[in-house]
């Protein structure tokens, strides 16, 4: 199944999803498509004026361009998602797209979608970490069963 994650660029969540045979929907793969595109020259991410305009699908014109630019990349991943894992209160080293307003909007869209969603609080102790990983694995196993 295609599983969206939040933060949308969390390598740890992406890795856990891949280990269970699902497809993580992460920002890196989308950014990769952009940065290897020889047609575009708008470093560092090859996001052009067109992208924040595409982001209008997810946020209105009065919303800052940076939020819309981020949504232009992450929004289609949310559209594609069949399941989601949301990690709340994660430090930025765990994964982050830099903007609190985008975070609020992404989490809201994921919740609104009505897909199987696992919401977790970022673990701060060893025991909590083991519990969180177990919860993620159980959630991913169940997805597999549901998927047949």
């Amino acid at each position: 199944m295609k599983v969206a994650v939040f933060p949308p660029n969390s390598l740890i969540l992406a890795d856990l999803i891949e280990r269970k045979g699902h497809k993580p929907l992460v920002l890196q793969s989308e950014i990769r498509k952009k940065v290897v595109d020889a047609e575009i020259d708008s470093p560092p991410l090859n996001i052009t004026e067109e992208d924040p305009i595409k982001g209008l699908k997810y946020a209105a014109i009065e919303v800052p361009s940076g939020v819309r630019g981020r949504m232009a990349i992450f929004g289609p991943l949310i559209d594609e998602a069949e399941a989601a894992i949301i990690m709340d209160e994660a430090p930025f080293g765990f994964g982050c797209i830099g903007c609190a307003r985008t975070n609020e909007l992404c989490v809201y869209y994921l919740r609104k979608k009505g897909i199987p969603t696992l919401e977790l609080k970022y673990p701060v102790t060893r025991d909590e970490t083991v519990e969180v990983v177990n919860k993620i694995n159980t959630f991913l196993d169940q997805l597999e069963e549901e998927n047949g």
């Binding site: 708008s42 991410l45 052009t48 361009s65 940076g66 939020v67 830099g98 609190a100 307003r101």
Partner: protein, 412 residues
Amino acid sequence: MVKIAQISCGTDFSGVQKEIEKAASTFGAEIVFPETDLDYIDEAYQKFGFNCASSGIKLMIARAMSIVEGKSDADAVFIATCFRCAEGALVRNEIRRFIQQNTRLPVVTYSFTERTKADELFIRMEALATIVARKSILAREKQEGLTLGVDSGSTTTKAVLMENNKILGAGWLPTTDVIASAQKAIEEAMDGSGYKMDDVDGLGITGYGRLTIGKRLGAKLIQEELSVNAKGAVYLAGHQKGEATVLDIGGMDNKVITVNDGIPDNFTMGGICAGASGRFLEITARRLGVDISELGPLALKGNYKNASLNSYCIVFGIQDLVTSLAAGGSKEDVADAACHSVAEQVYEQQLQEIDVREPLIQVGGTSLIEGLVEAVSDTLGGIKVIVPEYSQHIGAVGSALLVSGMGDLDEK
């Protein structure tokens, strides 16, 4: 090469990073990013004390701290966040103050959209690059010797002749042919002074036509209007230290510059709608059958609340004023309503984009319309507004002042 440290949030995802780098390189400057690591972001954020939710903004704080603590090397700082991001606007301003209070680096701020192009950033980058390169000239607070300043604007050309910190003569005329207009303005400024062009120690030029005129007349100083106007305004207002805002409601466009110790750090310019310009007042004066110079005193006697004005538009707004007159409204009330209309629109379109600092120094031809000056102060909640003498000549005065720090004319 001048190193401009970029402290920003959202430039990558808005697709404008390339435009920023292009604007900097146009003026021989290079964009650099101050050094930070994950631990330092937390440390700097705690030290700075501003609680914000976006980690991109936390990174901005850490980059600012890195500059202030000398961990990164830069000659100037460019601070930018997305237009309409409230958190970004708050932190952008606090970082600006933090850097200005703790370093001597020039700072320019900007709020961008996805449509921001390099040319919109040119004047800021040019100002940063020249402030770095000409730091000693911009520090000048007194005019010395005999110098001439010319401001070649889009609508009018101004010239001022100064000697030992005094204005000897001034010239002002509508811009037609750029060079001919400058020559005529210079003639007007020199007229009656007893001096000839050869006596002048230095010629400084600013404004849209500065490059053309500067080359032709062999100017010693050719400088963008942002730093020259800021300098001219604080010099004339006697406010060379501390913070101030310079407002120029022009005939065609409006400029707002924020200044710290005479050095500009933000700038906004608009000019899409004639209803927010001096043109609206010119047409109002014509409709009232008075000279533009009489409009200000007339407005001071009126009360804008008595005249109905439902549109800021130059067409519909004027129609409203005419309707008010037909309904028995007084000329005074209508004149005051026109001044408030322009002031409110400048506020709504421009002053909200910028952090307005007291005192506000109002300059340009429209600053001579007293009713408008009062309306601007009213609209901004009674802020102190200074209109210095020669307020319509700030660019020319700024040029004459700055060029006087550049040595003998022989070098030209």
